[in-house]
Structures are given as structure tokens and as C-alpha cells.
Amino acid sequence: MISPDLSRRYFKAKLFRVFCMSVSWMGVLILGVLLYHVCREGLPWLDMQFLEDFPSRFPKKAGINSALFGTLWLISFTALFSVPIGIGAGVYLEEFETKNAFSRFVDLNISNLAGVPSIVYGMLGMVIFVRFFGLEESVLAGAMTMSLLILPVIIISTREALRAVPGTIRQAAFALGATRWQTVYAHVLPQAFPGILTGIILALSRAIGETAPLIMIGALTYVAFVPEGPMDEFTALPIQIFNWASRPQQEFHELAAAGILVLLAVLLLMNSIAVIIRHRLENKNQ
């Protein structure tokens, strides 16, 4: 017997809606509280002098210049290494590789690598790049270590994006006598690109906030110069923030908050650029 007890069903639906709404607002709320605290402490310190000066033991003179540029150097080189390798590997694994026991083994390992703690990559970077290849505590060694860290994320998101392209498009291209490369290059990659870009941005955002592997490979906490090349020593924003936050004086805590604001600004800038590119590409595809 079907009972048309609609009010009960509507009540359940409403309950579920309220639950989903409250958990999604919870995220916004937490972010809001965080931002409020950081802004309250950091904003008074945030001025051109803060951006232009190097770290100092006097809070009034301390600035974030070397860390900001260190991060920019680091993230540029990380992108340079990890983006082409990550997309290339993703395309190969998804579009070209024949599926067999070995490929499944590779897949499993890449998924596992994405979950390895960053400090482990730091150790790997220290042993391989810093010592074995003799790159020392340079931007290059840091960027390579960071690339290792985020490569699995880029590969996995590239594959997801490729998988989301409907198979009918591939069939259409193949039926016109296209080779696999022509199909992938002309149709699959352009359609997958917005998704790939999202993955890259998420990965780079992770890299920009990572501290542990950089400390592990010996990035310095006190740097009074801006790197001028990939072989220079460097520091990065999260290291500087950590350094200030671990001091006892209140002023340095506020400096750390100002540093966090700079870090967030860089992150926001990167994301906005990605959103603009993605938007343009989607319009072009349509």
C-alpha cells in the first residue's frame, strides 16, 4: 500500500537541505573568523615598507621582501618543471598507455604518491637534489623537490579531466582518419584544459604553502637578499611566517599575520589568473 504521506517526505527533504546548508556555511564562517583575526593583527603592519624591507631583529624594520621574491622564484620554477611533466604523464597514462597489470601498478603508485607526507619529499629532495646532484640549498633544488611533491596531484587531475571528455568526440575524430595524437591535440586536450588548469592551480597552491620540505632541504630562515638566479639561496613566505610566529614578542606575531596576508594575496592572484584563462578557453570552446 502506497501511503501519500507527503508532509513527512517534505520534512525529510527540508531537514537534509538545512544540514547541507549549515555545513557549507560552516566553511565560510571558519574562513571568515580566520581572516578577521589575521587582518586585525596584520593589516596595521602591511605597507610598502613591509614589502620592500628584509627581515630584521627589530620588528619596525622587518620586511618580507626576500621571502616574497623567494616564493615567486620557487613557484615559477616549480610550475616550469611540474606542469609539462605532469600533463605529459597524464596524457600518456590516460590516452596512450595500453591497460595491463603494469599500468595498473603504475596507477596505484601515483595515487599513493599523492598521499605521501611532504616531509618525506623533503628528505628525498635533500638526498637527491641537494647532496647527490650538488645543487645545494638553491631555488632549483627547492623547486625540484616541490615539483616531485605536486606531480602526482597534477597527473591525477589531468587524467580526471581527460576522462571527463566524452568518448564520442574521440570516436568522431578517429572515424575521420585521425591518429591518436591528432585526436588528443585537436579535440581532447582543448576540452580537458579547463579541468587540467584547475588541477594545476590546486597543486601550485599546495606548493606555495608548503614549509616542511623546504626546511628539510635547508632553505634559510634568515635571508637578507633577493635570489638573482636559480642557483641562489632563498627563503619563502611560509618559512618567514613560521619564523616570526615562533618568536616570543607580540610584534613578530603581528608581522607573521601580515606575512599571511601577503601569502593569501599571492594565492588569490594566481587563482584569479587561472579563472580568467579558464573562462576565456571555455568561451572559445563554446
Partner: protein, 272 residues
């Protein structure tokens, strides 16, 4: 017929000539074709010939292996994991599954139109031009695009907006665009996998008219669920059931005077 055939042996000569002619007219021939997915047979030993400039329809209930067989004719099955093919698919006598046959080459000669219209998310012009261009077309691409769209009876509807996205076209127009795209490759054979199943009756009529036009220049093989379509459009019909070819012959015989009981049941709608 020349003078030499007018002598005493003329009748025998004419018969052999006719036979020879029929043989030359065979564009595609499949011999004892077995197709399996991960070892499970989907097509269980089918032999068939497809004649030049004719429309051959393949009908049968869902899952009878007709689409599988069609995809085998231009090696689109290559992309399906675990799909194995046994027996021969001869294209002008050349085995398409032979060692030195390049599947890319095969698909240039034997085009395919799919069940659901699948234009590329690009402009109408690019949809048609892409195939020839990647295959090294040299010449007037604009003329080729116009000719292909005209052959697909789409030109008049889109000539003023070739730069617009193909995704903005209606379903029927998209399907005709897909046909135009295939025609631009100047193939010899066009395979159509239920080309009208996603379309309304008006668009279906459009496509069927188009098929009649196309058979002047191309050999067509269509898979269809639509009995009327098979009887209206095709010259020959093959009826398949659970991987076997039950009956093959001229369409009018299949529909009005089938030899097999099962064919009769199916075409009269008593089964399937």
C-alpha cells in the same frame, strides 16, 4: 557489349561477365567473422557482402551484434578493450585486419556516422574542414567544405553562419553536419550506426532522403532499429539475432517474403 560477345558462346560469356561484374561490385566482404568481447562471442561467424553504390541495412534486436559488426568494418573496435576479431573483413579483397594495414588509412576510406550526433565543439566550418586538413588536404578547403555541406543538404541552412559553433545547431542539423564531415574525407563507404535514432521524424526523413542521394556516389551500410527505415531506404537487408546472421537478401524479399520464420516474426513485429 562488344562484337566478340556476339559469337556462338555469347550466353556463357555474358553470364561469366555478369558474375565477374557482381564480384567487382563487392566493396566489402566479411567472411566467417567472429567478434568477441573478453572472450565472449558477440558475433558468431557471419559472412556477408556489401555491394557498391547500394544501401545495405542491418536489422535485429538490441544486443544482436549488429553495431559490433558495423564497427568492425572500419576498425573502430580497435579502441574497445578486450575486443578480438577473427575471420576476414575484405575491402576490395584486402584484409582490413592484415598485418600491414594501417587502421588510420582504413578509416579515411570507410567513414562512419554515429548514433548520437557528435560534432566537435568548434565552428561549423572547422567541423567539416578538420578531417581533410589533418589528412594533408591541399587545395581549396572552402570549396570542399561548401561541396560537402551541399551534399549533406545542410549548406542552405548554415551558409551565413559557418563560423558559428556547431553545438548551436539542432539535433537533425548536427547529424547532417556529421555526415558532411564524413563526406569531406571523400570516403568510398559510409557506415551509419542508427543515424536517426536520436532524431525526430522530420529530421529522419531529411536524413533518409539524403541517403538516397548519397548512394549514387557512396556505398552505405546502415544499422537501424527502425523497420520502416530499413524497408524504405535499403536495397539489401541483413537480419541478425544473438550474433548470428539469420537471413540476408533483397530488402523487399526480407520484408514481404522472408524465408526464415524468425525473420518474419521480427519484421512483422511479433518479436523483438
Amino acid at each position: 557489349m562488344n562484337v566478340s560477345t556476339m559469337n556462338a558462346n555469347s550466353i556463357t560469356d555474358v553470364i561469366t561477365e555478369k558474375k565477374e561484374e557482381a564480384k567487382n561490385n563487392v566493396v566489402l566482404e566479411i567472411k566467417d567473422l567472429k567478434i568477441a568481447y573478453s572472450g565472449e562471442l558477440a558475433v558468431k561467424g557471419v559472412s556477408l557482402s556489401f555491394l557498391k553504390n547500394e544501401i545495405t541495412a542491418i536489422i535485429g534486436p538490441s544486443g544482436c551484434g549488429k553495431s559490433t559488426m558495423l564497427r568492425c568494418l572500419n576498425r573502430m573496435n580497435d579502441f574497445i578493450l578486450g575486443c578480438t576479431v577473427e575471420g576476414g573483413v575484405l575491402y576490395h579483397g584486402v584484409d582490413l585486419y592484415g598485418q600491414d594495414v594501417d587502421p588510420v588509412e582504413v578509416r579515411r576510406k570507410i567513414g562512419m556516422v554515429f548514433q548520437k550526433p557528435n560534432p566537435f565543439p568548434k565552428s561549423i566550418f572547422d567541423n567539416v574542414a578538420w578531417g581533410p586538413l589533418i589528412n594533408g588536404f591541399k587545395g581549396d578547403i572552402h570549396a570542399l567544405v561548401e561541396k560537402s555541406l551541399q551534399s549533406a543538404a545542410l549548406w542552405n541552412e548554415v551558409k551565413d553562419r559557418l563560423g558559428n559553433s556547431a553545438m548551436a545547431l539542432s539535433g537533425g542539423q548536427q547529424q547532417r553536419l556529421c555526415i558532411a564531415r564524413t563526406l569531406a574525407m571523400e570516403p568510398e563507404v559510409i557506415l551509419m550506426d542508427e543515424p536517426c535514432s536520436a532524431l525526430d521524424p522530420v529530421s529522419t526523413a531529411h536524413i533518409e532522403d539524403l541517403m538516397f542521394e548519397l548512394k549514387k556516389d557512396y556505398t552505405l551500410v546502415i544499422v537501424t532499429h527502425n523497420m520502416q527505415q530499413a524497408s524504405r531506404a535499403s536495397r539489401y537487408t541483413a537480419f541478425m539475432e544473438s550474433g548470428n546472421l539469420i537471413e540476408f537478401g533483397e530488402t523487399k524479399n526480407i520484408f514481404t517474403n522472408p524465408k526464415e520464420k524468425r525473420t518474419e516474426d521480427y519484421v512483422t513485429g511479433r518479436f523483438g
